[in-house]
């Protein structure tokens, strides 16, 4: 288990604004994703744990060993931390063969044992046939597997992955995810994975931490974060939600009803505990929960007229973007008949409305 409380201040530089990192979390075996926009402090957190960066204060505990403790001045050098690190550009030594890269990581152990271990890793990551090649002679997938194998061969207690999927095309990405799932099964150690791709969180993450401006703003399982973003910033980071500024006009706990005003349109929703009439909040709703149909005559409850601005093709769906910043996703067949229609009616479900 890894427990980290890390604080670090950066004074504003000539080209950079001031930044402060202040995170506190723990992670068990399995993949914990550090998710957030660039500049949120994700890689800095990883580098603090690996020992490349010295925090100002805090404490980093790996299993029962103190890697860093600000109060007592303990700062274990990177070489003594036994944290496997998969670098963004792999950082495979270009002057060594693939086998040489693996051997470098286990040079301390006796030759026979070392040979056995290297072979075992080469087999496990399907690299045996290319073990004599240099990194520049390897394919992207092979380099990637080699960097993961090298990070794991020394039996680390923790695996750190810095945006391993960045810049990979789709097939390689799928291959990487398969490898990482295999690693999760076989090695049973905590892994911290940095990404700003939410799909990757859903696909790989057992847990996730959402980082923003150097702080952890939400944690939990990726599914839970996705369903219940803690605040409007997290919802915005996920990049899937409609976020509409609304004013609460009525609240009735008895009938479990509320009235919301969005521009000059009135919506009915469930009762929102802890809110007051007059509060300005964000209505947070996924585009695939909304439905839309061409406008024909009268409007029912929670039906809002809207003008179509553009239709964006997705794999199985079409994303309709309307004026007033509302987007709706429809199955392709539902839209195809009405391609030329401009005036639509958007229907909000009255039960599924959430405000942040």
């Amino acid at each position: 288990m890894i427990q980290a409380r890390v604080r670090k201040q950066f004074a504003p530089g000539e080209e950079s604004a001031a930044f402060s990192l202040d995170v506190d979390f723990k992670a068990e075996a399995g993949i914990t994703v550090l998710f957030g926009p660039s500049g949120a402090g994700k890689t800095l957190t990883l580098d603090s744990i690996a020992g490349f960066v010295r925090p100002d204060e805090g404490r980093i505990l790996l299993d029962d060993e103190i890697l860093f403790d600000g109060a007592s001045g303990v700062h274990l050098p990177a070489r003594a931390r036994r944290c496997g690190y998969v670098f963004q550009n792999y950082a495979l030594f270009p002057h060594m063969t693939l086998r040489g890269n693996l051997e470098f990581a286990v040079e301390r152990i006796p030759r026979l044992e070392r040979h056995r271990k290297v072979n075992e890793m080469l087999e496990k990551f399907h690299l045996a046939e290319v073990s004599g090649r240099r990194p520049y002679e390897l394919s992207g997938g092979q380099k990637q597997r080699c960097s993961i194998a090298r990070a794991l061969i020394g039996s680390p207690r923790l695996l750190l992955l810095d945006e391993p999927a960045r810049g990979l095309e789709a097939p390689l990405r799928a291959e990487l995810y398969a490898v990482l799932r295999q690693v999760r099964e076989e090695f049973q150690i905590p892994a911290l994975l940095v990404t700003h791709d939410f799909e990757e969180c859903l696909e790989l993450g057992d847990e996730m931490l959402v980082l923003r401006e150097g702080r952890v703003v939400q944690s939990g399982t990726p599914r839970k974060v996705f369903e219940y973003p803690a605040n409007v910033d997290v919802a915005r980071l996920l990049g899937v939600y409609n976020l509409l500024p609304v004013e609460i006009r009525g609240l009735d706990p008895g009938r479990n009803v509320s009235r919301l005003r969005y521009q000059d349109f009135e919506l009915t929703g469930p009762y929102f505990p802890g809110r007051l009439i007059g509060d300005r909040v964000w209505l947070c709703i996924r585009p695939d929960v909304l439905t839309a149909s061409p406008k024909d005559g009268s409007l029912g409850t929670n039906q809002m007229p809207a003008t179509l601005v553009r239709a964006v093709e997705k794999v199985e769906r079409v994303r309709l973007e309307f004026a007033d910043d509302v987007a709706v996703e429809l199955p392709r067949p539902a839209f195809e008949k009405y391609q030329s229609v401009k005036d639509w009616v958007i229907e909000f479900p009255s039960s599924g409305l959430r405000v942040l």
């Binding site: 670098f87 550009n89 030594f93 020394g154 810049g167």
Partner: protein, 227 residues
Amino acid sequence: MPIDWFPLWLSLRVAVISTALALGVGLWLAWILANRQFRGKEVLDAAVTLPLVLPPTVLGYYLLVVLGRNSPVGKIYEWLFGEPLVFSWQAAVVAALFHSTPLLVKSARAAFESVDRSYERAARNLGASELRLFWRVTLPLARRSILAAAALAFARSLGDFGVTLMIAGNIPGRTQTVALAIYDAVEGGNGKTARVLVLIISGIALMVLSVANRLTSSPYGPRQTAL
């Protein structure tokens, strides 16, 4: 009159020894300048560069003061080896060393700094000590640039005139290097010797420079970037 080949051999011997010494001192200084942050780093950097810009006579004067028979260093040397350092061929090595080390430090520092930091981080992360990191990662990755730097230092050692004259003198058959011999030959109207030595030195320098140029092209296929 036959050509006296002694100056050529002496110059080559001086250049080889001084390049070897310059590599030892220069790599160490370059590594420190490239990797360590400490107070007075700018001063050290400037001090290392100084011999490049000072007139040779000024540098020679300093060395005479520091290494002369009455100086502590000179006395220790004389006590150790039984003869004074100044006006010996060993002094020509010192002169060449001061002439060439700054160039080597400059290029070696740039070579160390051009090694991608992520390789060094990876090595540390995989449990390598700083020493192993240097020998197994940084030095091999910077190897070609460093050999190129050594070649330049060698060529420069071969060509020192002023500092050698100041501290080793111009004693034919003892401390007279090629550069000094050419000067003497021209002064003494010995045109043939001057021409031959000039051509040989130019040829060696040209060869060394072309080797250095070839070394600085990248060894590991196209330059290693993200993918």
